[in-house]
Amino acid sequence: MTPAHPVPVGDVALPARPRRSRWSLGVEWIIESAVRLSGVSAIIFVLAIFAFIFREAAPVLVSEQFDPLEFLFSVQWYPTSAVDIRYGTLALTVGTVSVTLLAMVLAVPFGLGAAIFVSEFCGRRTKEALKIVIELLAAIPSVVWGFIGLTVLSRLVVEHTSAPVGVNVLNGGIILALMSVPIIVSIGEDALKAVPDSYREAAIAMGATRWQLVFRVLLPAAKNGLLAAVLLGTGRAVGETMAVLMATGHAVQIPDGILDSVRTLTANIAAELGEAPAGSDHYRILFLTGVQLFAITFAVNLAADLVIRGTKRK
C-alpha cells in the first residue's frame, strides 16, 4: 500500500495517492465473487442436468427385471403392456440414426457448398445478405418446421413418391437437413475464413483455377473446422424433438427404406413422459433414454471441440 504522506523521491516530494475506500473495495470483491460464481455456472448446469437425469434413471439399472441387452438390442417397445412389459430401444435408436443420416447426406454437400460459395465466390454485399438469410433460416422454430413437415411436405411426399403416408424418414430427413444446414454453413464459413490468404495467393500464383483452389487447397486446409461444422450439425439433428415428433410418423419399427415411418428417441420421450407416473419403471426407462441421448450429443460435441482445438494448435 502506498503511504499517505508525501515521500521524497530524489529532490521532488510526490503528492499522496488517494486510497480507495473500503466500501468501494468491498463492492468490488462482491462483484468479483459474483463473476466467478457465474463463471462456474455453466459447469454447474451441465453437471446438474446430467446428475438429475442419471439420478432419475439409475434405480432401474439395478432392478432385477432390467436387462441391458434387451434394452439396447430389442425392437419390442411395450412399456405399458398389460401382459408383457418390454423395454427394447433398438427401433428407436435406428429411427434416430436413419433420420439423422439422411439429414446429413442432404445437408453436408449443400451446406459445405454454400459455405464455400459465401466464403470464396461472393462480394462483400452479397456475403452480408446471404449471411443474414442463413441466420434467419436458423431462427425458424422447430415446431414450425414440424408443422411444415406434417402439412406441406407430407402432401408433396405422397404425390411424388410411392409412399402410402407422407410422414416418414424422408420427410423427417429433409426437415432436419434444412434445420442443420445453417449451422454447417456458418461454422464452415468461419473455418474457411480462418485459412490464411497466403494459401490462396500461393495457389493462384501457381495458376490454379478457383475449382482447384477449393478442392486441392482450401478444403484440406480447413478440414478440421469443416469437420467440426458437420459434427455440430449432426448434434443438432440428433437432438431435435418437435420437428421429428410431427414429421416422422412415430411408428416403432426398423425402416425398410426411407419411405417407412419411424420413431426417434427424442420423440419417444416427448410422447410418453407425461403419462409415466413419477418414479415408475417406465419413467425411469425414459430418463435412461434421455441419458443415452445426452451421452450421444456429449460425445459429438466433445469430438467437435477436440477437432477445433486441434486446428487452433496448428
Binding site: V35, I49, I116, F121, G123, I132, A139, G146
Partner: protein, 311 residues
Amino acid sequence: MSFAAASGSLGPQGTPALFSETAFGRRMVRHEAVARGVFLAMTLFMIAPLVAIVTHLIVEAWPALSLEFLLDVPRDRMTAGGIWPAFIGTIYLVVISLTVAAPIGVLAAVYLNEYAKDTWFNRIINLAVINLAGVPSIVHALFGLGAFVYAARFGYSVMAASLTLAVMTLPVIIASTREALAAVPMAFREACWNVGASRWQTIRGVVLPNSVSGILTGVILQVSRAAGETAPVMFTGAVLFKAVERGTLLPYYLDDQCMALSMHLYVLTTQVPNVPEAVPYATAVVLLGSVLLVNGLAIGLRVWLRTRKRW
C-alpha cells in the same frame, strides 16, 4: 474482406483475364464458371426451400391474419378468435427467462474472458459451455421437470418454464458475450491498467460499455430460441387452454400455467378439431414473423453499431 473481393486485379470471375488468350486459359475460365455455377446452385438450393416455405405459409395464412387475430382470445372451441393469451404467454416466458439468463451469462462470459487463466479447470468450463449449448431440447425438458417442477417445488408454472428456458439460452449468451468482450482491443484495457484502475473498474468503465452492442445482439438473438421451443415448456408450464379475458394485458402470475405460441401451434395441429385451415398457418406466421422481426432488429442493431465503432 474476402480474397475473392480483394482480387480486384483479376477478371470478373476471378481468373486473370489475360489467361483467356490461350486454349489452356480458356479451359481454366470455363472451369471457373462451372465451379461458380455449381456452388451458386448449391446455395440457391438451400435458400429456395426457405423462400418457398415462408411464401406458402403466408399465402395459406392470409385469410386469418389480422390485428384482431393477434389481440382477440380464442373463441368457439379455439376454432375462431385469436391467439392473444398464447402471444402474451410467450412474451412472459421470453422476458423472464432472459432476465434470469442474461446477467448470469454476461457475468460468466466476463469471468471466462477477463479473469480466467488458461488452466485445465477453465478449459473444462469452456467444454461445459459448448456441451450445454448442444443439449437436446427434450433433455432440457427432463431437467426442467425434475429440477424446477418437482425438486424446487415450483410445480407446473410460468416460473418453472422460464427457468428451464433460461438454462437453455445461457450457453449461447455466454458464447456471444465472450465474442463481444474479446472484440474490445487489449489496448483499451492496458490504458486503464496504466492509470491504476483495478480489473473490475476497467471492465465496468471501458470493456462493458464498448461491448454492449455485441452483448445486446447476443441476448436478443436468444429471444427467437426461447420463443420457439416447445418441448421444454410443454412439460413445465404450458397448457392447451387457459381462459383469459379479452384485453387483459398481464394475465399470468408466476405460479400460473400459461399458453405459449409454440405450444399453441402444436396443439392446433394435433389436438384441436375443426380448426379452419388458415388458423394454424396464421399462428405459425405470427410465431415466425415475431421471431424473424426480433432477429432482424438484432442484426440491424449489430450492423448499425458496427458503423459507429470508434476503433
